[in-house]
């Protein structure tokens, strides 16, 4: 597809690609491959005069934090509404603020609620036993969430590149980061001590999140490659696997025997 090469060239120079013929399916080149252009008009990292040092300069990442409070809250609402046009909306201005702080909040919330529920379990038991604050929950939560949001989009980006599909790694990070937001309310609801409620809550959250991610990726790569369905199913499956891990490691705290 000559169009792919044209978009690669435009990505390198930061110009807007030529208008394509109208169609109802957005071309992935336009949305996925636009570099973020916050303050400086199409300049990704590193800047033109900086070569490799730009990667170490904090200020060269500023275009990826060019969001206001209303932007972040709108994006969170989109993720809760399972809006499959999310990547298209955020392609011009992918932000790293949302993914990073949603992950950090999740780390804190799952670690503390896990400990809280363990404590409640200890208090409610008539037998003895000793409760201590399990600090390992915090470090393993950090590993799981930061690792997932950091590495899975990167792997997906390289996979798509290998298959010849251009995509933007920052847009993917933005997508995956916001998709994890729904687990925050799910964690709060999972403190309820009934297993069935927990399964329902975590299951619903995982499905919403997985469909959000899968739907967006499907919209973007559907026209680009014949194996798009396999890729979409793969992303949905990894997301559901994350939900399972959360359920079994973090949200398996005490339960009522009645019910």
């Amino acid at each position: 597809m000559a169009g792919a090469y044209a978009s690669l060239a435009s990505e390198a120079t930061g110009t807007v690609p030529a208008a394509v013929e109208s169609d109802h399916v957005p071309h992935f080149q336009e949305t996925f491959s636009q570099p973020g252009h916050g303050g400086q008009g199409g300049q990704g990292i590193p800047g033109p005069n900086q070569a490799w040092q730009g990667y170490f300069n904090v200020l060269s990442y500023r275009p990826y934090f060019n969001v206001d409070t209303v932007d972040v809250t709108d994006r969170i609402k989109d993720s809760l509404k399972v809006d499959v046009g999310f990547v298209e909306k955020t392609s011009q201005n992918p932000d790293m603020y949302g993914p990073f702080w949603i992950c950090s909040t999740l780390v804190f919330v799952t670690a503390s609620l896990g400990n809280l529920a363990a404590y409640l379990s200890y208090k409610s038991k008539t037998t003895g036993g000793h409760w201590h604050y399990d600090i390992n929950l915090m470090s393993s939560a950090a590993l799981v969430f930061y690792g997932y949001v950091g590495l899975v989009p990167l792997a997906l980006y390289f996979l798509l590149r290998y298959l010849g599909v251009t995509s933007g790694v920052f847009q993917l990070w933005c997508l995956y980061g916001y998709s994890l937001f729904v687990f925050i309310p799910a964690s709060f609801l999972s403190v309820v001590p009934w297993e069935i409620v927990r399964w329902l809550v975590v299951g619903a959250a995982s499905f919403m999140s997985a469909i959000f991610v899968g739907g967006n990726i499907r919209t973007q790569i559907r026209t680009a490659n014949d194996r798009w369905l396999a890729i979409v199913i793969g992303t949905v499956a990894t997301h559901l696997a994350l939900g399972l891990v959360l359920k079994f490691y973090f949200f398996t705290y005490f339960q009522h025997d009645a019910l």
Binding site: N66, V67, T69, N115, Y133, I135, N136, M138
Partner: protein, 269 residues
């Protein structure tokens, strides 16, 4: 040091000081930062360039201003020179003063900064103004103290608790500062670290108080009050640093960090 070949290394430091003093009296320039370079240094060559104790990261151009202070050797206490020191305050000749003077001054500065940050005047004209004479000793003490207290009272994994608390606080302060800078705010990196570190003081107090009493209700109240105090102290600084449309984005991570630490204090057995 090429100029050292001509100097008799056996001269006492007092005669060296007199030599320098006489040379300085000849050239009375206040901006005499260039003079010492042409003068054979009075100190023995084996010693590294003196960096005053209270200014650990002084850039090299200011080292020569410490030579300037040789004009009043040995006797009196601290003599501030005109060079801009670390953190914006006057720089002192910490070489020739007693150690307790240096320590006293540093402790006084920590106390002053603490009062400015944690018990600020609510009617001050610019709530967003940060510490003028910031330093990093205070935050260092507070972080270490909090990590030690929490690790001391933990029943298992003491060293891991210390490591996690210390890492969370120090990495958290750095990340918060970077967050403000990335959102388009303009703050000085170390000054922000300093303010965020001083705002930990109420949580330190609450950790100490929680050692006394172990009931959950009491602990919750104490931690809640300390949290509110810390956030209230940090809020003006962070919120005025970014454009107003992004204020919540800058303030929320501060609240998250202090709530995390508060929870660690609360949940410690």
């Amino acid at each position: 040091m090429s100029g050292m070949n001509n100097i008799d290394h056996n001269t006492s430091s007092q005669s060296d000081i007199d030599e320098i003093e006489s040379l300085f009296h000849i050239s009375v320039q206040p901006a005499a930062l260039e003079v010492p370079r042409s003068v054979p240094p009075a100190r023995k060559p084996s010693s590294p360039p003196r960096i005053p104790v209270s200014a650990p990261l002084l850039p090299p151009s200011f080292v020569s201003s410490s030579n300037q202070a040789f004009s009043t050797p040995v006797q009196s206490g601290p003599t501030p020179s005109t060079g801009a020191g670390f953190g914006g305050g006057p720089q002192y000749n910490t070489l020739t003063e007693p150690v307790r003077e240096t320590l006293k001054r540093d402790l006084l500065r920590v106390a002053t900064n603490l009062k400015d940050v944690v018990l600020p005047n609510p009617y001050r004209e610019d709530p967003g103004k940060a510490l003028r004479d910031w330093d990093l000793w205070g935050p260092f003490f507070f972080i270490i103290f909090l990590a030690l207290t929490l690790s001391y009272s933990a029943t298992e994994n003491k060293s891991k608790v210390f490591a996690v608390v210390f890492a969370t606080l120090s990495a958290g302060a750095i990340v918060l500062t970077l967050n403000v800078q990335l959102l388009g705010g303009s703050i000085i990196f170390f000054q922000s670290l300093s303010v965020l570190g001083y705002c930990l003081f109420p949580l330190d107090v609450s950790a100490l108080v929680c050692q006394v009493n172990n009931t959950k209700l009491f602990r919750s109240l104490v931690v809640l009050v300390a949290l509110a105090w810390s956030s209230w102290a940090a809020y003006p600084f962070v919120s005025t640093a970014v454009p107003s449309s992004r204020k919540a984005l800058a303030v929320y991570p501060v609240l998250l960090l202090y709530i995390t630490v508060g929870f660690l204090v609360l949940a410690n057995d």
